[in-house]
Amino acid sequence: MLVIRRDLVDAMVAHARRDHPDEACGVIAGPYGSDRPERFIEMENAERSPTFYRFDAAEQLKVWRGMDANDEVPVVIYHSHTATEAYPSRTDISFAGEPEAHYVLVSTRDPIEHELRSYRIVDGVVTEEPVKIIES
């Protein structure tokens, strides 16, 4: 289960809405071993595409170094789908390289109601998990 503060959920949704129709992506870092997302980091979608996203490699190194220095890990890795449901695509599954992360998908295909779901993706196997939002 992903337990996450409401302000962090709002920040992901706002980012996804702002970049729509392109996919938005980012990370929420948290203390190592805590499984608690805390530090919100919007990432550049180097692809600037409505159907694909990729963290810029140089920016990613900087952010990953920063997490290392703070004893943090990427607790949440999020991206948006702008025309389809919030379920991992085949490409999402083949790239998923952080077995301990919660992969959060936000769908902005409906202009009013967003859809937000969370998954573990380990060795190509997708497992959806409940999302518990706590008031911040």
Binding site: R54, A57, L61, S89, D92, F95, E98, P99
Partner: protein, 90 residues
Amino acid sequence: MAVTVSIPTILRTHTGGEKSVSAAGTTLAEVIDDLENNHGGLKARLVKEGTLHRFVNVYVNDEDVRFSGGLAAEVKDGDNVTILPAVAGG
């Protein structure tokens, strides 16, 4: 020619859990071959059909090797090689 290689979580099963290992070589390709000798299975996770796998980013001293020759990128004694899973999808 020894370099230090940072290993991401997903590949640490090949290094017995070690976050960072030492390897030898004068190019990234040689470093990866040396890694494979000591940590079997790593090469297949990094290289596909003679080029770096699109699922990983490799940096030599913080420079993305895609811009410095890929597997042919030169490494020097004391360099740091960092491997990160590429974060991407559709």
